[in-house]
């Protein structure tokens, strides 16, 4: 990491990768300083650029939304703090994302945990054994019932974020509010049964 890369902000750093979405965020509202949506192919290159610029990986978490299975990567910098959230969407039928464990070795465990909970396969991850779940356990515990899934916009594009969009690709609709703006909750009569059903793997 050279002194000039240390002060480069993510919007400049990630620009060559043509992110579908990049925004300045308000840390007082969301705890994030920047957020971005990347395609799965751009992820390893982004990780390499971030490591070189002195960013460390805080965590990788999965998210089960209507649009598919999303992996959210949180990065931060020790020298000039400010959190970056990179979101990558994977297809629900065959959720595959590239692993960044060859760049950030700490990602190996985060990816295995996300694979345990959501079934996302990270190609290139050196260890395929389950991390937290007993081996041989069937199912992925944090997947949601179809009726309980929310659209991504309900979670990440809510009112009061005070963010500024820096770039948005043509045709990027992930953060557009869904046509039915109500939260994705089933009718009251079935609410209790569905909550239990949502817990079954």
């Amino acid at each position: 990491m050279t002194p000039d890369t240390a002060s480069v902000t993510p919007d400049v750093l990630l620009a060559p990768l043509d992110p579908a979405y990049l925004a300045d965020e308000n840390p007082a509202r969301t705890g994030l300083r920047w957020s971005a949506f990347l395609s799965a192919d751009a992820l390893p290159r982004a990780a390499a650029l971030l490591l070189e610029a002195g960013w460390h990986l805080e965590d990788i978490c999965g998210l089960d939304v209507r649009e598919g299975l999303m992996a959210v990567y949180h990065f931060d910098r020790m020298t000039s703090p400010g959190r970056l959230a990179i979101r990558v969407l994977a297809d629900r039928e065959t959720p595959v994302l590239p692993s960044i464990a060859d760049i950030y070795q700490g990602a190996e465990w985060h990816e295995r945990e996300t694979a345990d909970f959501y079934g996302i396969a990270f190609t290139g991850n050196p260890n395929s054994m389950p991390l937290l779940l007993p081996e041989g356990m069937q199912g992925h515990p944090l997947l949601k019932d179809a009726a309980a899934r929310a659209p991504l916009a309900a979670l990440l594009a809510a009112q009061g974020r005070e963010d500024t969009v820096l770039r948005k690709a043509e045709g990027f609709t992930l953060l557009e509010p869904a046509e039915d703006a109500k939260p994705a909750k089933p009718a009251k009569a079935k609410a209790a049964a569905t909550e239990e059903g949502a817990d079954n793997a």
Binding site: T30, E58, D59, W109, N127, L133, G136, L155
Partner: protein, 406 residues
């Protein structure tokens, strides 16, 4: 009465698994993790299984080791023996119902996890906290940090073979626990933070007790230094053992004393300031030797710095409420949105990320445990070290397995 479900004994990755899930090769002993680990082993190595039950007090950690005599060729921690489904519970319980879980994630610094969750909820919902409550949170969290470091210190020395320091550490810790019991109602798994303040106000007995405790512990620290820190046996065992260079810290996302022992001056209280920490005068201990001794010295110095913060906070404790009058009722619903709140725990940077769609329960809660990232570097750090040094390195990482397994 008992469950007779037949889990497949080996995961799909095991090369010896037969079609019905049994063990194809009768001579292979051990489970799927052992089989998987043995695949890459050299024929002349010894495969040793450390844990999940072993005398170290770190909890249920299992480490598979490939040994060449006494030297570790390869190490692989196996997790999940204490996976208690915290993130799943967060999605089925309301925010108030989930609070007690936070005391159990890392029971040694429970109040830091309390703070991380409460902070994330308060940030998302825009809940304000009275100033007195901020000070009470600081005081109790720093007292908890001291109790965590004292237990780490005693347990570390117990691992290394010294039986006396843990007795003294627990003696001081018991005084601390009595004080925290006045504020939280329990000895260990605190969940005394509330959305909008803290559970109870500081009684005069508590303030008096803290004022007596700080000089008492200060007077004990020189004895610990003289008898233990400067002990030649300890120094030979942990100096230059378990070198973690700065680039390893970055690649694994390590934080806390693990990073500060390697010369990286990163503390969430300074980097992402929260609460009233900026009003107090304290240092962030930093060492550059990158070895276990450096991490040890950082934690011992942190005890002193925590005492400084507590002293200043108690002296300047403002009057007021311990709960905000407009604090929400326990049945409140989170508004839609996301928030990430980070706190400096005894082990490093604790993070809680909440994503909510406005429903009764949060949609997703991610618990970012510092121990998870810190332990991940053990495999790389322990390569080429002696087996006895592996114990010294594990102790210097200060892990609490429940926060790693969540």
């Amino acid at each position: 009465m008992h469950s007779t479900e037949t889990l497949r004994s080996h995961g799909p990755a095991c090369p010896a698994a037969s079609a019905d899930g049994g063990c194809a090769d009768d001579q292979i002993a051990g489970d799927g993790y052992t089989c998987h680990f043995e695949q890459g082993a050299r024929p002349e190595s010894l495969i040793l299984n450390m844990g999940p039950q072993h005398p170290s007090t770190h909890g249920v950690l299992r480490v598979l080791l490939e040994l060449d005599g006494e030297y570790i060729v390869r190490a692989e921690p196996v997790l999940g023996y204490l996976h208690r489904m915290h993130e799943k519970m967060a999605e089925v319980k309301t925010p108030a119902q989930f609070m007690p879980n936070m005391g159990r994630v890392d029971y040694l610094h429970a109040l830091a996890w309390n703070w991380a969750y409460v902070g994330a909820v308060e940030k998302l919902a825009g809940i304000e906290i009275p100033e007195r409550a901020e000070y009470l949170r600081v005081i109790t969290c720093e007292l908890n940090r001291i109790s965590s470091h004292l237990l780490w210190w005693g347990a570390y020395l117990l691992d290394l073979g010294a039986f006396t320091p843990i007795m003294y550490a627990f003696d001081d810790r018991e005084m601390l626990l009595d004080l925290l019991q006045l504020m939280t109602g329990s000895r260990l798994t605190y969940s005394s933070f509330r959305f909008g303040g803290v559970y109870t106000d500081a009684s005069p007995a508590f303030v008096q007790g803290v004022r007596q405790f700080v000089p008492h512990l200060r007077s004990r620290l020189p004895m610990y230094t003289a008898l233990v820190t400067e002990n030649i046996i300890l120094r030979r065992r942990i100096e230059e053992v378990g070198v973690i260079p700065q680039d390893m810290v970055a690649r694994y996302g390590a934080s806390g004393p693990v990073a500060r022992g390697s010369g990286i001056a990163y503390d969430v209280r300074r980097a992402e300031p929260y609460s009233v920490y900026d009003r107090f005068d304290y240092e962030i201990p930093l060492r550059h030797e990158e070895c276990s001794m450096a991490r040890y010295m950082v934690r011992m110095a942190e005890i002193e710095q925590s005492l400084r913060i507590i002293e200043q906070a108690v002296e300047s404790l403002p009057d007021g409420e311990h709960m905000h009058p407009k604090a929400p009722k326990p049945s409140f619903k989170l508004p839609a949105g996301e928030s990430y709140f980070a706190v400096e725990g005894a082990r490093g940077k604790i993070g809680v990320w909440i994503a909510s769609d406005g429903g009764k329960t949060p949609y997703r809660v991610k618990l970012r445990a510092p121990g998870f990232s810190n332990l991940a570097l053990f495999a790389e750090c322990a390569r080429g070290t002696l087996l006895a040094d592996a114990v010294a390195i594990l102790g210097s990482l200060d892990m609490v397995i429940p926060e790693i397994d969540r």
